[in-house]
């Protein structure tokens, strides 16, 4: 009889555990660490450097969120995920936020029950081939062997592209970028296709990047951004507005260089609200007043993060393009801090 009672109590405890998993913000604060899902290694976006420290464009988002919430940009536990494991990791609560070149799509947002908190890179799918093949257009790839990461949007776009152009190909499904790189360089596939930014980042690590070309066709829209679990709106807001803080800071001219000075108060009320010297935005998010300043103190504003990790001065050499501020003809457009 006693057994039954205990088990009954366990059952109820188990049931309530499912419902109580909501407050991610409190969990992160209590833990003192942010669990952030990143790639298994894509230099420029997320990869450990020579000292074992994670660096990159997606990593910067993780660090900014950690700084905003915990006041410390290094209080992050990076969890490497593959294209296939990333969603399970997020849904199961193993990670608090996923920042891994992940495309915002309808089904991921609605059916998989995630919430995209914005776009940190507007991308599209491209193709990379060795120069010696003499290919100048993706339409000439009839019969080619194509390396493709499974569990990605790119694998679906690829099927559609070849089918609609009535040409054939041989897919080689691959788990991680590193594996794709190995097979591609060994000539086990003729073409590597993924997000164009990923191709540029991969090519930059080759011994002779000049021997490989990116084909002109961009066959899809890949808005990449950080995402959280659906249903925890407070946490979603924190991640969303941290990203917006980085973007707005660039628009308003707040940089690493002048951050300390501006945090002393400026003539521009929006900067003051962003940096916490005016208004109670931080409090509304459940964070400290200087959350925005903390987020910006890690790697600077969006433009600085871009330039340091993947910009034209780096080996990856990506131009701002669509990722310029709206004032510069790009798509970056943060809602106002008001």
């Amino acid at each position: 009889m006693k057994n039954t009672v205990i088990l009954g109590a366990l059952t109820i405890a188990g049931l309530s555990a499912g419902a109580a998993a909501a407050g991610t913000l409190d969990d992160v604060k209590a833990r003192g660490k942010l669990n952030c899902g990143v790639t298994t290694g894509l230099v420029g976006f997320a990869a450990p450097d020579a000292n074992g420290e994670w660096k990159g464009f997606d990593v910067a988002v993780c660090r900014a969120v950690a700084a905003a919430v915990l006041g410390d940009g290094s209080a992050v536990e990076f969890v490497p995920t593959t294209g296939k494991t990333r969603f399970t990791a997020l849904a199961s609560g193993e990670i608090d936020v996923l920042a891994r070149n992940t495309t915002w799509t309808f089904s991921r947002d609605v059916d998989l029950k995630f919430e995209f908190t914005g776009v940190n890179y507007y991308d599209g799918q491209g193709f990379m081939v060795p120069k010696e093949l003499g290919v100048s257009s993706a339409k000439e790839l009839d019969g080619a062997t194509v390396c493709i990461q499974t569990g990605t949007t790119t694998e679906l776009n690829l099927a559609d592209f070849f089918r609609s152009n009535n040409i054939s190909y041989e897919p080689v499904p691959i788990e991680t970028n590193a594996e794709a790189q190995q097979q591609y360089l060994a000539g086990a596939c003729d073409v590597y296709t993924t997000d164009a930014s990923g191709l540029a980042a991969t090519r930059a690590t080759f011994e002779s990047p000049a021997d490989h070309v990116l084909l002109p066709e961009i066959i899809s829209k890949e808005p990449l951004g950080p995402l959280v679990r659906h249903g925890d709106n407070e946490w979603g807001d924190v991640v969303r507005w941290t990203l917006n803080a980085l973007i707005t800071a660039e628009e308003l001219g707040v940089t690493s260089a002048n951050l300390a000075e501006m945090a002393g108060g400026t003539n521009n009320p929006e900067i003051n609200r962003l940096l916490g010297t005016e208004g109670t935005l931080g409090e509304m998010l459940g964070l400290s007043a200087d959350w925005g300043k903390n987020a910006l103190s890690v790697g600077g504003n969006y433009g600085e993060v871009f330039a340091d990790n993947i910009g034209e001065a780096t080996p990856i050499g990506l131009a701002r393009g669509l990722n310029a501020q709206w004032t510069e003809g790009g798509l970056l457009y943060s809602p106002p801090f008001r």
């Binding site: 057994n3 039954t4 296939k84 000539g187």
Partner: protein, 422 residues
């Protein structure tokens, strides 16, 4: 008539459930069972509840939606517009192919190595021992990845076959190309083909089988049956008269001629692989993922089968061999007529379990991108639809059915060869 009186009847008290050894074990078992059922119920309701709060009630509707991804190794016709169900079917066939090929090669290799390990030749015995120890003691996943890496890194890419003075050339009179994308071999073609027969309708489960293949199997089957009949008759005559009529030429003719005639009638010829554009075209492409998986699983499982065969042979008493030798039977014949048939009884049960292991290990296909059922249903379909629970359950069900079918067939065979005890 009995003079004994019954022992006084004990009245049943509740405490006896615990203190009386007659009831105690029963009580404990019932409590354990209830506990187990409660735990199970808790897990199920908890899962269902959590899925419901997530808004992810179990549903198998996704199986009918278009898969939208491509599969490289297709035994049936398939495009990315086909359903997830069909993608799963193709994956299942790929699982069965590699399991079937693997079981055959592993068994052949295993028997040879097992017999050689008992060889009186010191070098042969030691070499096979080394083989067994190396393959048995390294996880099969490593063998699979290792084989794949060797193929990718050491074999030439198709483009190495290009140009005036190519780096690589095709083997066997230009009929076989060994590349780092796999091996291309000649394929059988029929210029007067009978076409396909559509089994199982036109839906997701459609299963087109070549009529040429069916015709060849039928004719060959009939010929073999006829040849067996002739042999049976010869056996009878031998038993009656002591003299065996010479039948091998009629039997051979019966097997070869009808099939050969059919092949000529169908216009049988080979299609050879040829370098065209990026890849070899024509011929059959054995992908490197298939070869890596097949080879690694075979070599690994063969090491276990070799040990089983060795144990089986050692289980047959040496007296049998000596008795057979005393009757003047030659050593090779002693092995095949006396020792192996008896050893089989010891060998078959563990052999079955090794075949099952090989089949289940084939799910490591994912490591080399072989598109088996774990690559399609439990891989891409799971990932693109987010239906973890449903796809994993289905995959488990499928593996269970495969394993139970193999056991059922082998148990039936085992019953037939088992020593009939009287």
């Amino acid at each position: 008539m009995t003079t004994l009186t019954d022992p006084p009847k004990e009245s049943f008290r509740l405490s006896m459930l615990i203190y009386d050894t007659r009831y105690r074990s029963m009580t404990i078992q019932i409590i354990a069972l209830i506990g187990f059922l409660l735990l199970l119920g808790m897990l199920v309701t908890n899962t269902a509840q959590n899925l419901a709060t997530l808004g992810k009630e179990p549903s198998f509707r996704f199986l009918g939606e278009p898969a939208s991804y491509d599969i490289n190794q297709r035994l049936l016709e398939y495009t990315s517009r086909d359903s997830h169900l069909r993608a799963a079917l193709l994956g299942l066939l790929n699982t069965l192919v590699v399991a079937f090929l693997g079981c055959i090669t592993a068994t052949i290799l295993g028997v040879i190595i097992g017999v050689l390990r008992l060889s009186s030749n010191w070098v042969v015995a030691k070499l096979t021992t080394i083989y067994v120890e190396i393959f048995r003691n390294v996880p099969v996943l490593l063998w699979i990845v290792f084989t794949m890496a060797i193929m990718i890194e050491t074999m030439p890419a198709p483009r190495a076959f290009k140009g005036e003075n190519p780096v690589a050339t095709m083997a066997l009179n230009d009929s076989v190309a060994v590349t780092n994308r796999g091996i291309y071999i000649p394929e059988p073609l029929f210029s007067r083909s009978l076409g396909d027969v559509h089994l199982l309708g036109q839906g997701s489960m459609r299963f087109d089988v070549s009529l040429d293949l069916i015709a060849i199997v039928l004719v060959l089957g009939l010929s073999l049956w006829g040849a067996a009949k002739i042999k049976l008759r010869a056996d009878k005559i031998q038993e009656k008269t002591g003299e065996r009529p010479r039948t091998w030429h009629t039997r051979l003719g019966l097997i070869v001629v009808p099939t050969a005639v059919l092949l000529v009638a169908l216009g049988f010829h080979f299609g050879y692989p040829e370098l065209k554009g990026f890849n070899f075209k024509g011929g059959t492409h054995l992908r490197n993922s298939l070869i890596a998986l097949w080879l690694a699983l075979s070599l690994y499982t063969a090491a276990f089968i070799a040990e089983i065969v060795r144990a089986g042979i050692l289980a047959v008493s040496h007296g049998q061999t000596e008795a057979a030798a005393a009757l003047g039977i030659r050593p090779g014949k002693i092995m095949s007529l006396v020792v192996l048939p008896q050893a089989m009884r010891v060998i078959i049960p563990p052999l079955i379990s090794n075949w099952l292991n090989l089949t289940k290990n084939s799910s490591l296909a994912i490591a080399v991108g072989y598109m088996d059922i774990t690559g399609t249903l439990m891989g891409i379909t799971l990932n693109q639809t987010g239906r973890e629970l449903e796809t994993v359950l289905l995959t488990m069900l499928i593996y269970l059915s495969i394993s139970l079918s193999i056991s059922a067939v082998m148990n039936w065979y085992n019953k037939r060869v088992k020593l009939v005890e009287r």
